[in-house]
Amino acid sequence: MHEYSIVSALLDRVENEARNRGAVGVHAIRVKIGDLAGVDRGLFATAFETFRAGTICAGAALTVVPVEACWECPRCGQPLARGAVLRCAMCLEPAGLARGDEILLDSIELEVP
């Protein structure tokens, strides 16, 4: 249940941003969570519902954008098939993760007086 500590880091970060910009509220929060981030997106949303009460994010709409994992060959750039051995069949290079491990605060919408 590390989703709770990630949400708590998210709320701190957003609160900071809101304070620095003189906002009175947060209208929306958009985060990106990759398939290989080790974060359950459903639990993340539940944790957000629980923890936002009493914070500047109490009325914020949360959007969690999923990012599909993509492995590719670092030499030829060829993406690997899902579930395949993580080695390029042509170059024999170990694959690199192009995307899918992000736990990212993408953007927010602040309510500024």
């Binding site: 590390h2 009175v24 579930g83 170990p94 007086p113």
Partner: protein
């Protein structure tokens, strides 16, 4: 102020942040890493399920390396300090990190614990994480290497079920291999599963009971220590599974 209609409502201002949510943990981890590098301490984050044999690995490591390398450990434990007590009994300076309800260690917990622990006198610091194949994978602690203990009793598909844990592992110790004669576990299937989640799969069969793999594990740690000083990745090609024999 909303100036389109004069209603007095606040205006909505979009802000592109594009920042990792765990950036705070990553900063503390970088700080820890900097400390370890400056003092020449190899920090190993040892992870694995509850009961996968993490503490037994460290006891066997102490038996093998105690006279040669100064090792110590901090152990994450939800409620007890049993692991740290076992390690002290094995002659390893050890401190427990009681996490309460937290299912993982983070960089700040490690940092705080090290303030009262003589880690600078060590050559290898093991950070024994909380027994869990999910949460510890998400938190950088400032370690130089990630090692995952996977016991033969856990089933062949664990790597496929918990890819984030194995993706960032530098080495997987396949523990309790002394039990293999009593089980119908196919070690080749574990190799195959690992090759699908770990780009540079390295699996070392290990038994704290028979001593299988202990010498190769010790050699791996020695290579890692040398690489720490040379600042280059260790070459442990002999631990590569036979990819040719794994099912494509």
């Amino acid at each position: 102020m909303c100036d389109s209609c004069g209603c007095g409502d606040p205006s909505i201002v979009p802000v592109e942040v594009q920042e990792r949510i765990l950036a705070g943990n990553e900063r503390t981890a970088a700080h820890n890493r900097d400390h370890f590098h400056r003092e020449g301490v190899l920090a190993v984050n040892l992870m694995g399920s509850p009961g996968s044999g993490k503490t037994s690995i460290l006891e066997a490591t102490a038996r093998a390396l105690k006279q040669e390398i100064r090792i110590g450990a901090v152990s994450g434990d939800l409620a007890t300090s049993h692991d740290a007590e076992r390690l002290r009994a094995a002659g390893i300076p050890s401190e427990s990190i009681t996490t309460g309800t937290a299912c993982h260690l983070d960089a700040e917990l490690v940092h705080r614990t090290l303030h009262d622990f003589p880690w600078r006198k060590l050559q290898i610091l093991f950070i024994e994480n909380v027994g869990n194949l999910v949460c510890p994978a998400v938190y950088d602690l400032g370690q130089t290497a990630n090692v995952v203990a996977l016991s033969v009793t856990e089933g062949e598909d664990k790597p496929l079920k918990y890819p984030p844990m194995f993706r960032n592992a530098d080495l997987v110790l396949l523990t309790k291999t002394d039990l293999l004669p009593h089980l119908s576990v196919d070690v080749a299937a574990i190799h195959d599963a690992l090759a699908r989640v770990m780009p540079r799969p390295r699996l070392l069969p290990f038994s704290a009971v028979t001593g299988e793999g202990v010498e190769r594990w010790a050699a791996w740690l020695r290579e890692r220590r040398i690489a720490l000083f040379l600042q280059e990745p260790a070459r442990d090609a002999d631990l590569m599974p036979q990819l040719a024999s794994s099912r494509a």
